[in-house]
Amino acid sequence: MANPGGGTVCNGSLHNHKKQSNGSQSRNCTKNGIVKEAQQNGKLHVYDKRIVESFEEAPLHVMVFTYMGYGIGTLFGYLRDFLRNWGIEKCNAAVERDEQKDFVPLYQDFENFYKRNLYMRIRDNWNRPICSAPGPRFDMMERVSDDYNWTFRFTGRIIKDVINMGSYNFLGLAAKDNEYLMTVKDVLEKYGPGVASTRHEMGTLDKHKELEDLVAKFLGVEAAMVFGMGFATNSMNIPALVGKGCLILSDELNHTSVVLGARLSGATIRTFKHNNIQNLEKLLRDAVIYGQPRTHRAWKKILILVEGIYSMEGSIVHLPQIIALKKKYKAYLYIDEAHSIGSLGPTGRGVTEFFGIDPGEVDVYMGTFTKSFGAAGGYLAGRKDLVDYLRAYSHSAVYATSMSPPIAEQIIRSMKLIMGLDGTTKGLQRVQQLAKNTRYFRQRLREMGFIIYGNENSSIVPLLLYMPGKVAAFARHLLEKKIGVVVVGFPATPLAEARARFCVSAAHTREMLDTVLEALDEMGDLLQLKYSRHRKSVHPKLYNETSFELKD
């Protein structure tokens, strides 16, 4: 999980790739980052967006201090483990039973060491229970620990109105909203909450059919199928699409559900560097030329697995180039739009609308309803014969309980709101508000001098913290100021790149964002987090000296 292209700001990265890739996309011509794909299927696709992504590298002293901090933590970890082993200190962690002491040790690998000695010290920043709907503000239960985070107890107090910068609530539809939830209440009263069956048996309801037709219409594809759980959509359906003798090319930063599904399928998996089109092309060429490993037969299928927005980096997939590659080498494309559906594109239709690509070009669309629609579950969409095949052969359809009816109704009403089918433009306003909030938030953070990863249009904003001590201090101080953030460290991110991940929402008002930005400014100065080299000066000039003329 290396830091890709460190130190470069890709302005118009398509232009840069064109210089290096010698006609790999011979039908594209670039001109200052403007790509025009040649006529395909009689339609002229014009993609005129410049991709602005940056993954700035930190200054050297920051990396040195980060590793030093981890080193000191590790030394103290060894000391504590020694004390625990020799019985000088009481061991609160999991330990084998006395009879099993001579077996192969269970808790000596690095993950367990890290969890016992490093994670446990700052564990109070994760798994914090909340006790209200995850809207733009929420209530959190206060908890304290008496023995340095081994056990917690609730004081009984509730911290009210904490600003929510962590929930995946991109369009603000996850809030309790009495007026709009009337239909959900009616469906709950009519159908009840449980389905008590799988799709193949008695679990296919008319609500599911209504929802699937709506999802197909929303995405502009022929058919769709919905499942009860987003993680299970990936992990249970990729095995139905590929098997032994197929090749999977997956991005190195793909989500665990995609990786699990790929491994379960039994196909050969090769990873390409994050968003790196040259690497992907090289792998495709090798696959087509050399075939399967020993027999050199042709691969039965080549499937490219990518995500719309990557949740830890905030980067957006370079879709036009991947589509050009897949057409040239005759591969299939599976795109996981968990974070990008509802939040990218002028009307929220996802990453294909963002790039202006015809929806028929991607073979399999996958997405979840957890993020932008305020519900739970996932969908798979594409051509009708693909979806009909999945209805019969998907593990999830045969064995997993289908989606609950009130949740299906919540998705139906959210989707109708976004599409404008309820007669108002409120949905479209939410999508535009999200884009505005995203741009404002990212621009202000960049001006302040923080290192932010990812594309400027993605509503996931990772702010790099690097040092483990700062991670803990950041989360605790912000909670004192009544702002709830999610901080992520190893193993979800590389060891030296701990970060705080903000999820901007359409429900955040300008005042809330300004409150958060002020608090971040203060935190940045207190904890010295403003590492970026592109920091604007503190006192901007009010006028341009050279054009100032004295009037007599």
Binding site: F65, M68, G69, Y70, I72, G73, F76, L79, R121, I122, Y148, M467, P468, G469, K470, A472, A473, L526, L527, Q528
Partner: protein, 76 residues
């Protein structure tokens, strides 16, 4: 007022040291142990510098001046 600012600045500096070296997440007895060890090492470094650096500089100066003096005696 200046004394207050200086004290604030030093406490901010101490806080930075605590965060960067993970002292902020260590338990109090670990913190004191770490600080003690660090101060001991630092004291030893300072003592060694105080005792040995003047002597080393003087010896180096003599060594180099002897070479230059040797040269000058040769050239004469």
């Amino acid at each position: 007022m200046d004394l207050q600012r200086v004290k604030e600045y030093f406490s901010w500096l101490y806080y930075q040291y605590q965060i960067i070296s993970c002292c902020a997440v260590l338990e109090p007895w670990e913190r004191s142990m770490f600080n003690t060890i660090l101060l001991t090492i630092f004291a030893m470094v300072v003592y060694t510098a105080y005792v040995f650096i003047p002597i080393h500089i003087r010896l180096a100066w003599e060594f180099f001046s002897k070479i230059c003096g040797y040269h000058s005696t040769i050239s004469n």
